[in-house]
Amino acid sequence: MAVRVQAAPFDFGAECGAFAAGRRDAGAVVTFAGVVRDDPAPGGALVALEIEHYPGMTERAIAAMVAEATARWGLCDCLVIHRHGRLAVGEAIMMVATAAPHRADAFAAAEFLMDYLKSRAPFWKKEIGAEGTAWVAARAEDEAALDRW
């Protein structure tokens, strides 16, 4: 199990390869990456995304999610990487990887972690456009998504 909160970029392909390599316990590995989408921003196109977080609480909150997912779906392993700071369009913001004996558990655990990272890990996104900035508002459907767990 590993949780990394970092400003530096990460190599999604290399992380996935390293996570999946040499396993004998897991029959299923699921990986997901969140990428900065070219959404409209103040003044037209998105120039960058600035991600703020709460150092300390971020790591604690993610560790608690990982512990719950591991117990609930019997994960063999799990990796969460989430970036903060300034990110350009097309860069990976975060990734989740889960390994379980069977795929249903690996998929469910990854979706659970995604839903919780979105609404219960203390990160906040600011859109930087050509003519200003705007904090991204939380969406009611993201909050509602937690109900299914």
């Binding site: 703020e52 709460y54 609480m57 979105k118 609404s119 219960r120 203390p122 990160f123 906040w124 939380a138």
Partner: protein, 83 residues
């Protein structure tokens, strides 16, 4: 008691600082918010609508009715937008 009060995102922008040390006798988060509001225009603006504000006590999410006894760090922020 002495509390470290942290502000994130637009609460930090409105208050004008990300962290302040507060001497208070507030029993609950709601009591503390009432005291903070009286500190000035920036604080009042940050807490104008507490439905848009979330709180963490010692880095665990809590409600506005939560007691502050034994707490050292209080953080205020908007709903999270990770992932």
């Amino acid at each position: 008691m002495t509390l470290e009060v942290l502000y994130f995102v637009w609460l930090r922008e409105r208050v004008g600082t990300g962290r302040e040390t507060v001497e208070t006798g507030a029993a609950t988060v709601a009591d503390l918010v009432a005291e903070l509001r009286a500190r000035g225009e920036g604080h009042a603006a940050a807490f104008a609508d507490t439905r848009a504000v979330r709180v963490a006590l010692d880095q665990e999410l809590a409600g506005f009715d939560a007691p502050l006894e034994g707490v050292r760090e209080v953080a205020f922020f908007p709903p999270m937008t990770g992932g």
